[in-house]
């Protein structure tokens, strides 16, 4: 498995919506490469026939009846929002100069 490159880290940072300075890019590239290097110790393991575990306790299809139930108070929720207008969340324009 190839080591993670500076370009890959830059790409991942964009995906994760994080702005990194050049210095941070270098530092993080080195650090991430070291952590991923450790993934080598499982690389050789043949686990093709082993089912993945997403979840340690066997619960399936946890549902409730489709009936209206009380939920969070809108005022209380919006009170924690950075900007609101007419009971809605206000954000900057979605379309603009693309980053």
């Amino acid at each position: 498995m190839a080591q993670i490159t500076r370009d890959e880290v830059a790409h991942v940072a964009r995906l994760a919506r994080l702005l990194l300075t050049d210095e941070e890019l270098d530092t993080f590239t080195g650090q991430l490469a070291k952590v991923l290097d450790h993934a080598r110790d499982v690389e050789a393991l043949d686990v093709a026939d082993v089912p993945p575990t997403a979840h340690p306790y066997p619960l399936v299809n946890v549902v409730r009846p489709d009936e209206e139930q009380p939920c969070l108070d809108r005022e209380a929720v919006l009170a924690g929002a950075p900007a609101t207008e007419d009971g809605q969340l206000r954000v900057p324009p979605v379309l603009g100069e693309a980053p």
């Binding site: 940072a13 650090q31 952590v35 575990t53 619960l59 209380a76 929720v77 950075p82 603009g96």
Partner: protein, 483 residues
């Protein structure tokens, strides 16, 4: 002044019987906080007025002949990633600085019903990512036993609060050892329940398949009492176990005659385990044997892959869970001409370095072309670990080993290389991956005079056997002073 040392059970008994006023108990603990938390920084927020009000309400109930609850008057500290309605919950991150949740976590509601009194929100590594509380955006917490040393993490504030006598009980969260490791380093009891046994509703999510809330306390009996209050099915948490909760408290005095105890070879021989820590673990094992347990070595081979699997799974899940912090609905917003730029600037300004590191690691491990090689593989390795642990539990009732490889280390000792910090979790991680319960019990000190914790692990829903063994370890522990 000396900090309060009364156990939670003794406090509750006194308050319920009218022998002590909850108001006096709370004042005693608030005094201890006032005297020493400037130095320790266990708390992000102390709730003195609220605690006093709650104490008066408890005392009124006692006077009126009403049942004030099993933990009446007991001061409790809450890790600051547990939602408390109307009270700032920061996860020790700038991105949630000042944010007040619109609801209480289920465990917070249960504590109130039990009559416990919240004295404050404790410091943690940002978003629970870390093993020393050095990653807090609001400054580290100091170990009450030696303030030049870390308290461990991520629930460092909760562990320090109990160790310093600021609270008789605390709640923390444990994703890779974040309750047990700081408990070990601070000389207190810390326990992680079976995954799904305690509702995660209101716990700010870090890694959803690993996170669990659990108790920190001075005694095993106190931890069992708090566990009994917070455990149980919650329809608001879809990962909550439906089975009723067994009462673990009666079994505490049963002793361990005939209990089959396995000593996990790979954990005792893991990288970096201090010899003096291992010596205490051996002493604890001897104590169990003297108390009648059947002790033997057991190999759990796949456990050696635990760290690798964990450091692929936890960042992947974290990267997904932390995508919600974008400046839109809550928390920090850094204004910008477009939403995209707002997301970028908000997250960059709001997250610390370790959080950014894990988000990027997780994003990478989940990205196209790498998903199978990293996250997919880690999930299969997780199955191997579960299988090997289950095999061990066919021959043994509980497994024992060290909680943490070392005693409390100095600030800055492990921050240069993230990997060095990650190694702190090597003994605790397997129980998070398997979703099985585990507890750290203080057992003497290392050569440096700092606390050592011994870990008891049990199969899923095996809390009763785990607590029984833990009580026996505690009974066999050498004398220890308070912080």
């Amino acid at each position: 002044m000396t900090a309060p040392t009364q156990s939670a059970l003794d406090i509750a008994a006194d308050v319920r019987a009218g022998r002590r006023a909850a108001a006096a108990v709370v004042d005693e603990h608030l005094d201890a906080i006032e005297a020493r938390d400037d130095e320790i920084h266990a708390f992000n927020l102390v709730l003195a007025d609220e605690a006093r009000q709650a104490a008066l309400a408890i005392d009124r109930r006692v006077a009126a002949g009403e049942d004030p609850g099993p933990l009446a008057g007991v001061p409790v500290a809450l890790k600051d990633n547990l939602c408390t309605a109307g009270v700032p919950t920061t996860c020790s991150s700038r991105i949630l600085e000042g944010w007040r949740p619109p609801y209480d976590a289920t465990v917070v509601e249960k504590l109130a019903d039990a009559g416990a009194i919240v004295v404050g929100k404790t410091n943690l590594d940002e978003f629970a990512m870390g093993s020393s509380t050095e990653n807090s955006a609001f400054g580290p917490t100091r170990n009450p036993h030696d303030t030049s040393k870390v308290p461990g993490g991520s629930s460092g504030g909760s562990a320090a609060a109990v160790a310093a006598g600021f609270a008789a009980l605390a709640l923390g969260s444990d994703t890779g050892g974040s309750i047990r490791q700081p408990a070990a380093l601070c000389g207190v009891v810390g326990m992680k329940p079976t995954y799904g046994r305690v509702s995660r509703y209101g716990l700010v999510a870090f890694a959803s398949s690993l996170d669990q809330i659990g108790p920190l306390s001075r005694t095993v009996a106190d931890a069992a009492a708090l566990y009994q209050v917070i455990a149980g099915h919650d329809p608001r948490d879809a990962t909550s176990i439906p089975e009723p909760v067994q009462d673990v408290r009666a079994g505490l005095v049963e002793g361990v005659a005939g209990l089959r105890v396995g000593v996990v070879t790979e954990l005792c021989e893991a990288e970096g385990i201090q010899p003096d820590v291992m010596a205490r673990v051996r002493q604890a094992i001897d104590a169990l044997e003297e108390a009648g347990a059947k002790v033997d070595e057991v190999s759990v081979p796949a456990v050696v892959y635990g760290l690798t699997a964990y450091y692929l799974i936890n960042p992947a899940e974290a990267s997904s869970n932390l995508a919600r912090y974008d400046g839109v609905r809550f928390g920090l917003r850094v204004d910008a001409p477009t939403t995209g730029e707002m997301y970028d600037r908000t997250r960059t300004a709001g997250f610390g370095a370790e959080v950014e590191r894990r988000i990027m690691l997780g994003t990478y491990a989940l990205s196209a072309g790498y998903y199978d090689a990293f996250y997919g593989k880690a999930q299969r390795v997780r199955t191997l670990i579960i299988r090997d642990l289950e095999a061990a539990y066919e021959r043994f009732d509980v497994l024992v080993g060290p909680t943490a490889p070392s005693t409390a280390f100095p600030f800055g000792a492990k921050t240069a290389d993230p990997l060095t910090m990650y190694l702190n979790d090597v003994c605790t991680i397997p129980s998070n991956l398997s979703g099985q319960p585990a507890i750290s019990v203080p057992f003497g000190t290392g050569d440096d005079g700092l606390p050592v914790g011994v870990q008891v692990m049990a199969p899923a829903l095996g809390e009763a056997a785990m607590f029984r063994a833990a009580a026996a370890v505690e009974a066999g522990a050498p004398e220890r002073g308070d912080a």
